[in-house]
Chain length 292, copies 4
């Protein structure tokens, strides 16, 4: 099988390598000519045989919109676009309809695994029809981890379901990271002569909390046992927020995931306006000193 | 009626003034000779007629323990000590037993109102026996706000109940402050040309959220509309923590009050160890840049 | 001044009464002919002199959309519609543009006060132009509480600002209610012989937590001291959810308000799917018994 | 090596089996004569050669206190007791001092792994001196999982550190379970035709959220895909509460772990007193109907 791949950044480049290793031929396009296999979208289309499959692996939002628009200009009825980025599931429906009007198919795939995917394989959550999924299976099989297919790949549902399940995956991920982080902070604060890195290391086998994220925590503590060179400033990619918005919309209580998102928001504030307000109130009623 | 009052700081001094205005004679003692009416505990005891009543208004913990110890040396069976500080309710039981062994009575009073109490009166929550409460009623009537007694005074229960209800009062107070603070932060962030101080001012009459704390918020915004001169650093006095510990002990869910306590903890951290851990994890799996 | 008022339910009917008491003439229209002053929208328009002002006081969402559509059919350029319902601020922009295309003015007003507004006056948060606000001032003055105008009324900002500030008001209200409720639950659980209703009653004067909601809590406890006849099932009106969505959108941490919303979500579940999952997990790793 | 083992319930029995498989001879004692190797504590002591080692594996609290008291009667100076139960770390200090007065050594071990430990090995967190740890290493090596010792065993620190780190482990565990549970509830509620069990199954390889608890979630969903036969009622064993208390004591923000504990508290309430209070308040201000 031979597919097009738009976006050869950190993720796209690794995916190209894994696809090739798995026997899938890839024609890559990127706006950076140093890494691109072809000069433009027309050349990308020309390099593929019909029905073409083009996998889009670019930042979510306007960039993905624009790439899909430009691909729609060069593709033909019967071709298919696969969005493997971190697109919001509601955009999938828009893209799907837009492409359907031109006879072009559309699928969405949530891809997990980060920089480790090249080696470990990528966890794949796919939205689309049964027929589409079967057509792309050689691609999915090349990307997904070794082992039984259903343990690293799911046809999650219709278009949008791939990104929806990936979104929830990331919401869960936020709260798991927060869980380890809260435990770490308490152990580090406990002042009882506890071997904190050794404790995390020992949790890797036999315990209830063993996980891949724990293994990464061990690596991180090996590299910097007190996180002395790391700033407690944490971005969020959007998927946690969407998860929380969906929870609100469905009246699903989400106290732990929301806590992990709010902790990230706070981490990015030099000063908390809310805490300024609380400090001001305490000063008003109790004459408590205010730092300025 | 004539009582002793130990502790003539910000609170004690104002309370002495309000007691005198309310017809209660006060002999004050403080370690600071400039404000003390008598040179020592013996002189305090000598200045009161039996059965003596001494109100203690000093910081909770070891200082309160020490004052009660020293008073126990100079008082006699039949006398009574009233602890009006922010003592933990579990200490009340200890103090009560300790004094009971000497025949000295003990009551605990939670006192609310801060620097405004001199003018507005103090909200009083009292722990002790029915007989004790009746004996002290002239003192309570002088301290409490104008209006019906039961709207600013309660015999909350046996010894410990005064501080227990004051503790819960403070837990509630934390969460109410947090509520206004979160709303303030959103309004300030909304970037829609909203008159934020004017909005808080307008909430003072007719709305569901009108309260005394709202009025203080309006005063604070009048003085500094963007809290430019206030640091978002907020201490906690212990009572919020004890409220949460009691909740844990009774399996009472307390998500809003705990959130307001945790927000204070975070406000005092230069760097969050937990967020360092999350940043380190993100760097491990996604190659996300880490600020240093 | 004479205005039209569409919607004569619990709120609208009370507002009509207060407007008339304040010297504003009202022509009311409701789909219920028993309370309506006129048979239809055309008759409503005919009963008002130009430039007409029609205040809409109906449920947010499709009903408000439909009323505005129908009013737009019978009003003329220069007339004005005021939406006093609980509309989402994003809908205000849609309504404003839609009406502007016909030369009809639009304002949004957040109205607080519930069933007590007839007697106490309504807290008003207004979105619109300075000119519009001045034109409607006699109406606002009739509706708002006694006392200084700025303590019960605010021109919060441009169109949408009225509903936006009312939305945040409601978010704050949720968390304040949750604060009292958590404190109540702990006091009720404490098993220390505490007079719980008496304690809430005593907090009404002199304390830091005194508020109008506290007074309502006292009324509720007077009526039913253990809430024996009340089900712990709590709806939410949407404004709390929108507040939280806005917080997410602006990266504003909102732990206490979100906690109060999630507590309502949980209160409406017969069984929590999340807790089923936790119970299933505990059974898997610990052999803990599972209730069925 | 030959040790005594008190407590042959679900955990103790499995541990005896794994110890024997690992070459450690075990004399077991239990109050249930059907499973006990010896009739009483004296016989247990008599069956072991000095310096004796007795591992205690009974429920935390009064039962553990009582077993340690009784062992202290039959052991001699130079012997050692190892508490492998879920004892609170503050009790370890008490037990340590009590035994030290008799010349008997004491160690605490946090044991993770549940019913899977027999097969997988037990994650071990140990508190004690370096000398004690080395003496017991054959026992730890028999119990811990295959693989490098430091990945399933840690000498966490002095007496108390074993149970302290196990306590934090369990706090983290609560929040991780809550994370998956919240994600599950949203997926189940999403109504988008999503294959929920298939999605969890596919997360087992390649994704960021893969973990042992995820594998158990997959097993649980295999057995009952909608948790139809499981009640959403979740106990807590105490260690989560102690984790939160320690966090409060050290001013460590713990929003996600606290949320997971509160969710369990709520899960056990037929009716929430707090939500009754909120419902009562809404009825007071808005005339909202109250369910009874």
């Amino acid at each position: 099988m031979k597919i097009g791949l738009v976006g050869l950044g950190k993720m796209g480049n690794n995916m190209r390598a894994r696809l090739k290793k798995g026997g899938v031929d890839v024609v890559g396009y990127d706006t950076n000519p140093d890494v691109s296999d072809v000069p433009d979208y027309a050349a990308l289309a020309a390099a593929l045989s019909t029905p073409r499959v083009v996998w889009v692996m670019v930042p979510a939002g306007r960039i993905t919109d624009s790439v899909i628009d430009q691909l729609a200009e060069v593709l033909e009825p019967g071709d298919m676009i696969v969005d493997g980025g971190n697109t919001k599931f509601t955009d999938d429906e828009v893209h799907g309809k837009q492409l359907d009007a031109k006879g072009i198919g559309f699928m969405d795939v949530g891809v997990s695994g980060g920089v480790w995917g090249l080696e470990n394989g990528y966890g794949l959550m796919v939205g689309g029809s049964q027929e589409q999924v079967e057509h792309l299976m050689p691609v999915f099989d090349a990307l997904r981890p070794e082992g039984p297919r259903e343990e690293g790949f799911v046809h999650a549902g219709p278009v949008g379901a791939g990104h929806y399940t990936k979104m929830v995956h990331n919401g869960i991920e936020y709260a798991i990271m927060q869980a380890y982080a809260e435990g770490y902070e308490l152990l580090a604060a406990s002042d009882r002569g506890i071997d904190v890195p050794g404790t995390f290391k020992a949790w890797q086998r036999g315990t209830v909390v063993r996980s891949w994220l724990l293994e990464l925590m061990v690596k991180a503590l090996d590299a910097d046992p007190q996180f002395a060179d790391i700033d407690g400033y944490v971005d969020d990619s959007g998927e946690g927020r969407w998860t929380l918005e969906e929870a609100i919309d469905h009246a699903v209580p989400m106290p732990a995931i929301s806590a992990s998102i709010f902790a990230r928001f706070v981490s990015r504030q030099e000063q908390s306006p809310a805490m300024k307000a609380v400090a001001a109130l305490r000063n008003q009623f109790g004459g408590h000193a205010v730092k300025a």
